[in-house]
Symmetry: C2
Subunit: 222 residues, 2 copies
DNA sequence: ATCCTTATGTGACATTGTCACTGAAGCACG
DNA sequence: CGTGCTTCAGTGACAATGTCACATAAGGAT
């Protein structure tokens, strides 16, 4: 097995059966540039993905070009949606795009099936990864359906603001993140700016009062 | 194993290992009346459920009392959300309520874990059931985020209207189904009535022009 | 300096959600 | 049979969000 794979997925060290070992050693490492489409809506799913470097965002798309980030696949993650598609023989119901340069190992469908059938270790690994996402999606549904956009935006900014004071992103990117429209986000940001919570510049948001954003984000959250 | 269980879940016939057999025979049958809460938001998850009779709806809830049906568990289904919670040791992120009288077999957490560890047959069964839901939830997210309420309502009515001309439900129930507000649904229904597509009576909707509803439901759907 | 592309700002309007009501239908019980 | 109770539906005013058609501005490329 490639040492990089083991380093990023320590749990794979527990795959001690020979079937799993063999499949893992046949995994091929690929590199993708940033902003590359990994899979599109309706594509059939042919490979299991293990991301070792970079992030892929998974987008839903509306009729009018609006988009929403369903979730991200970071390094250390495998792709739930891919797992689901491989298992149920469906096509992708969404779109995956690299956000950075990405390195990933791919395992073809056939070997993935073999892994499920013959390698207890790999099977456990795959389902462990799979099991941790469903409730995220359920939370997302509730957020979209019931929560005000200002709270959601404040939460997003507070999240980003925890690790950096300067957030380098466009209003459109934030809108996509929340599944809203650019104009709506622009107006909310202006409002936050008016309150002195943030500073706005082209392609950049400076967090001025993280506390206030967090306070708003948590209001009405039981 | 209880013959009823086997009858409703033929796939369980393939569980031929002794560990799985033993766990299945210890499954206990329970009966629940209609409109009974099966699990609430934040409950810890202690049992794996196999529904053999009736349906359970799984609801998300917003701050202001609005609700949305995330999905239904019919007879023949097991509960994804329960599987996910058992696997990830999370609490329920939603609420389950019986819609009819329900008969179900329950398997306690401990035996569920044993099944995953020791019974290849049961493990396969559990994950097969689990794998078929993720893309439903993703479609739901996109529908809520991007689709107009009139299209969604028309689709819902068209769906219900396929098997019955008289739909016995309140406006509030339809609103919950779609995660919208009662007033919004009432207005849309009035509009459909004005166009002669449906007839309205207290607690009842009569489908008059299914075709028109279907046509609207499909417009703007690529 | 000029052109281009991308990002942002804005007003008018449509859709959806919220609130505070009203009235109507059906049931329960005397 | 009437009276009240509860649930369901209708409505207008307004708030929040999304859509559209622009204008303006910032920054890079030549």
């Amino acid at each position: 097995m490639d040492p990089l794979l083991l380093e990023r997925f320590p749990a794979l060290g527990r795959v001690d059966d020979s079937a799993g070992q063999q499949i893992l050693s046949s995994a091929r490492l690929i590199s993708l540039p940033a902003n590359q489409v990994v899979f599109s809506l309706g594509d059939s799913c042919d490979n299991y993905l293990l991301i070792v470097e970079g992030t892929v965002k998974v987008l839903g798309r509306g009729v009018n070009g609006r988009e929403i980030v369903l979730y991200r696949i970071h390094n250390t993650d495998s792709c739930v949606i891919t797992t689901s598609c491989l298992l149920s023989h469906d096509c992708y119901p969404a779109e995956g795009i690299t956000e950075t340069e990405v390195k990933a190992f791919i395992i073809p469908r056939q070997q993935f099936q073999q892994a499920l059938n013959n390698s207890p270790g790999l099977r456990d690994f795959i389902f462990q990864a799979y099991s941790e996402r469903l409730s995220d999606l359920i939370h997302l549904v509730q957020e979209i359906a019931f929560e005000r956009i200002d709270l959601r935006l404040a939460r997003q900014l507070a999240l980003l603001g925890k690790t950096q004071t300067e957030i380098h992103c466009t209003h459109q990117q934030l809108a996509t993140e929340l599944g809203s429209a650019r104009e709506v986000i622009s107006r909310q940001l202006k409002e936050f700016e008016k309150r002195g919570w943030i500073g706005l510049n082209r392609g950049n948001i400076r967090i001025l009062q993280l506390q206030q954003l967090e306070k708003l984000a948590l209001s009405h959250t039981e």
